[in-house]
Point group: C2
């Protein structure tokens, strides 16, 4: 019988990553320990520590995974520039569907540790700045198209839009029956209607 194929470093690391993801989606960061990852993979804690020597290393890796996975997630096509494109970007961020719900659940769960750890704290501040920057072109296009008032403060609006979408995310995660996909979508539409230039017919 041939010996079992050797497990290379990269694929073992990927297995560990997947175990981390499953634990976070089910139990959150409070349930993420080296021991829990080892149990999930049916390996020794020492083997997990070979890849991630501390819990903090596991957490930092989980957050990188999350951002990578989020960047690669399937997105709705943008129908038109301006508020229509902003609408689809917001729907892509919300906890609609199983994968986006799991990803958001992990993000929200990461905030406790990120607020307590200066390095993770700074990473999260940068991440928020990137989310605001990613929505900025949609707001600029909407202003150019006259969908937003000519004097709209785009930096402030970007913060407002991100605030709205993340605050709706948290409410929906805690009360999915009150916020099914259609309610989240209607709430986005109501919010965008309020932003819309009242002079536009």
């Amino acid at each position: 019988m041939p010996p079992p194929a050797p497990v290379d470093h990269a694929s073992r690391r990927a297995q560990v990553s997947q175990a981390v993801w499953r634990i976070l989606a089910a139990k959150g960061f409070g349930g993420l320990t080296l021991r829990a990852v080892a149990a999930e993979l049916e390996v020794s804690t020492g083997l997990v520590m070979h890849y991630f020597p501390t819990k903090r290393a596991l957490v930092a890796h989980a957050l990188e995974l999350l951002e990578k996975d989020g960047a690669e997630r399937p997105r709705r096509p943008h129908p038109r520039p301006g508020l229509a494109a902003l609408r689809t970007a917001l729907l892509d961020l919300l906890p609609i569907g199983e994968e986006n719900t799991a990803r958001n659940r992990i993000w929200v769960g990461s905030w406790d540790q990120a607020l307590a750890d200066p390095g993770l704290h700074a990473d999260q501040a940068d991440r928020y700045a990137r989310i605001r920057a990613a929505l900025h072109p949609h707001l600029a296009a909407a202003r150019t198209l006259g969908e937003l008032p000519a004097d709209a403060d785009l930096d402030q609006l970007a913060a407002t839009v991100v605030a709205f979408v993340h605050g709706l995310t948290v409410q929906a995660l805690f009360d999915p029956h009150h916020f099914p996909a259609e309610t989240q979508t209607a709430t986005v539409d109501g919010f965008l209607a309020a932003l819309r230039n009242p002079d536009l017919n």
Copy 2:
């Protein structure tokens, strides 16, 4: 020498509560352990367990404390009913000032554990429903006053307003330099201006 005054149950419990609060504000729920509380109070872990037998009991107590403290916090007087009153209610919720910042930091930090624990999860869903209900009368008054469109959907608006204020809270906690009190206030004013009935002169 007289014996030391006996520490009664209620005051010892209050001391434990204060230690829990200090740990949460500094390290979050990830740093809240029976051992950390015992160290903070310079007592044995066994003594802490006499009051709170498990970490979950500590966490549930911390969340009760937080809601009680939040309900009793000093609030700005409401100048006029309607959107002006809503504005002051939102400013009271935001992380403006040291105490409101600490309280919000603890709330946001509690979400990881609350999402993983069915009982705490349901408590948080109820809490969101109460926050929406508390803002509802301001929205109803604003609609009656004509500050909001006559056909405004108040339930949806309450969810939108809570989403906005909590999402702004999270951004401000992670990036206080980008969101000082005056920026948070200006963002609230911009948001409320967008909600305002465009037919109102």
